[in-house]
């Protein structure tokens, strides 16, 4: 089952006109604050009514301005995970978890409470009330509550944004399991490239009130013309695989024809990984540099060049079948005489490759 969204809405000075299709799996709505991400997800939830458009899950329309269909939120059968958890303070964790089940149709398959509790590791919290839980615990309960409502679609609005780095690392694996272990499509709002790189089955990049590009994380993040967060935050995603662990603490990955060395990754050889390489961590050299401390020096070909409005430029490279972005200055572009099709070398710092961008993707 997939989600079809096409909405138009005018907010005076800002107008939104977007259309996309979210296939099964996890679709990330990716864009900066104020790009309309939350408006879109609230329209899908029924909390915001756009001027015109159509929203449908499979064949079932939730909203169709042409046919005057507008289902209220409680008839949409969704599981909405909010940024601020929004657990009911007067109910215990168990009562919170079962709240949606009370209203869900009794027929059809139901996710057993025990499975969800075990998957999220919230067994010890069941009798407690939300007031005494940590931010990470609350968000896990919120995930369980959404899942147990037996939804046909899960919505998540920046569910990690209010958490610190340690809590983010605690919650991320649960979204991976949600993506991989349930058949329910997930629409996930984020402005964090690392989350996109790690979670997305499909990415919808929003820019200027429209969809700039939709595709896989590799395609969208590797496109120099799509930088919803600005060129400074651009970065490509490589689909890699662990090949070996070296005795000096480094791990070896392969991505296409490339070999990368990164600080130790606690995964068995053969495990697929996504690697996030920020554009600002990639330097370019026209000749192979020698006497350089960087371990990853990759032969590459310039495939696209995008000059920004300021002094910067984004260079898209093909390196052994992978797309990499590099952020350089316009002055460097002129000095190196960069052109499409040019052969050169991309210099990656090992640390930058590892910087909270490495994540496992379960192929299952």
């Amino acid at each position: 089952m997939s989600l079809d969204v096409a909405i138009r809405h005018s907010f005076g000075t800002f107008s939104l006109d977007i259309a996309f299709k979210a296939p099964p799996g996890l679709t990330v709505l990716f864009g900066r604050s104020g790009s309309g991400k939350t408006t879109i997800i609230n329209a899908v939830a029924g909390l915001f009514r756009p001027d015109a458009g159509r929203i449908a899950i499979g064949e079932r329309a939730l909203f169709d301005s042409a046919q005057r269909i507008w289902l209220p939120p409680h008839k949409r059968r969704l599981g909405y995970i909010f940024q601020d958890a929004r657990l009911f303070p007067h109910l215990t964790v168990r009562q919170n978890l079962l709240y949606g089940r009370w209203f869900a149709p009794k027929s059809g398959p139901q996710e057993p409470l025990d499975n969800v509790v075990e998957m999220l590791g919230i067994g010890p919290l069941l009798t407690r009330r939300p007031g005494g839980l940590s931010g990470g615990e609350r968000q896990r309960v919120a995930i369980g509550r959404a899942l147990l409502a037996n939804p046909r679609l899960i919505l998540a609005d920046e569910p990690l944004a209010a958490l610190d780095e340690a809590r983010k690392a605690e919650i991320l694996p649960y979204f991976e399991r949600l993506r991989d272990e349930t058949s329910v499509p997930i629409l996930y709002v984020s402005h964090a490239p690392a989350e996109v790189a790690r979670l997305a089955t499909s990415v919808v990049a929003l820019q200027n009130g429209g969809v700039a590009r939709q595709g896989s994380a590799t395609e969208v993040l590797g496109d120099p013309s799509v930088t919803p967060l600005g060129a400074g935050a651009a970065g490509a995603v490589l689909e890699a695989r662990v090949t070996a662990h070296h005795p000096d603490g480094l791990s070896e990955l392969t991505a296409g024809d490339l070999r990368l060395l990164v600080p130790h990754v606690a995964r068995a050889p053969g495990t697929p990984l996504r690697v996030h390489v920020e554009a600002q961590d990639v330097m370019l050299a026209t000749r192979r540099p020698e006497g350089i401390s960087a371990l990853n020096v990759l032969p590459a070909t310039v495939t696209a060049l995008r000059l920004g409005e300021g002094p910067g430029a984004l260079v898209q490279l093909d390196a052994g079948g992978n797309v990499i972005l590099s952020r350089v200055t316009r002055r460097s572009v002129a000095a190196l005489d960069l052109r499409e099709g040019q052969q050169l070398y991309a210099v990656l710092k090992a640390v930058s490759v590892a910087k909270d961008g490495i994540a496992g993707t379960d192929p299952g």
Binding site: R77, G79, Y80, A146
Partner: protein, 230 residues
């Protein structure tokens, strides 16, 4: 030494009955109107708000006289009600009506404040989980505003116990029928040698008021703790 005469007892019992019924009857419309004022935008909202608050601002005698004009046996509402056997004028039920109307603004204010303190985002969360508006109200809003409802009810009860002007204007001061505590105290003070009776009723009034206040304090603390979710 502190022995209430049957007549004094009558006034105490009647006052409790009047205040209790006034409070109970005012609660459902009180919650509804408080919710409407807190959460809905509709034409005439300010007029409704004004009407609700009118008894707080008008002299009680005016309210009592308006009640007499409308709910009296010849009034536009009182006459048809009389046809079906309901009479308010000069009955204890009339005293309850007057007390309820005088207490209504206090109750609505307290409940409205507590509804405005409930985060609508929680109600949205309930809706996305499949609860209709009515269910959201019953399972999310209502439990969260219980402390406010209780506070409003206690305030209304206290106001109803003490209501004098509107009551005496609307239903007079008939011992055993409409003579509530304040009317009885007033009546005793009008006759020679009635000071002792009046004083005893004053002591009873203070005792009832203190008990109600302490009870509400204890209850609202318990509920607030539950609602805070710790």
């Amino acid at each position: 030494m502190f022995q209430l005469s049957p007549e004094e007892w009558q006034a105490v019992a009647l006052s409790l009955r009047v205040a209790l019924w006034a409070t109970l009857a005012a609660l459902p419309p009180g919650i509804f109107i408080a919710f409407a004022l807190a959460r809905w935008e509709f034409p005439g909202k300010q007029i409704l708000n004004g009407l609700v608050h009118l008894p707080l601002i008008l002299p009680p005698v005016v309210t009592g006289y308006v009640l007499l004009l409308t709910f009296g046996t010849r009034g536009p509402i009182g006459a048809p009600l009389k046809e079906i056997g309901i009479v308010f004028a000069f009955r204890w039920s009339g005293a309850a009506l007057a007390a309820g109307i005088m207490a209504f603004p206090l109750m609505v204010r307290a409940i409205r404040l507590s509804i405005e303190a409930v985060d609508p985002k929680l109600e949205q969360a309930g809706a996305t989980l499949g609860a209709s508006r009515l269910w959201v109200f019953a399972t999310v809003t209502l439990p969260l505003i219980l402390p406010g409802i209780l506070a409003g009810a206690i305030l209304a009860f206290a106001k109803a116990m003490g209501e004098f002007g509107a009551t005496i204007t609307f239903v007079s001061n008939i011992p055993g029928q409409t003579q509530t505590l304040p009317s009885a105290i007033y009546a005793f003070l009008q006759v020679p040698g009635g000071e002792a009776s009046a004083l005893r009723l004053v002591v009873v009034s203070v005792a009832i008021a203190m008990t109600a206040l302490m009870l509400s304090e204890i209850l609202s603390r318990k509920i607030a703790k539950r609602v805070a979710g710790t």
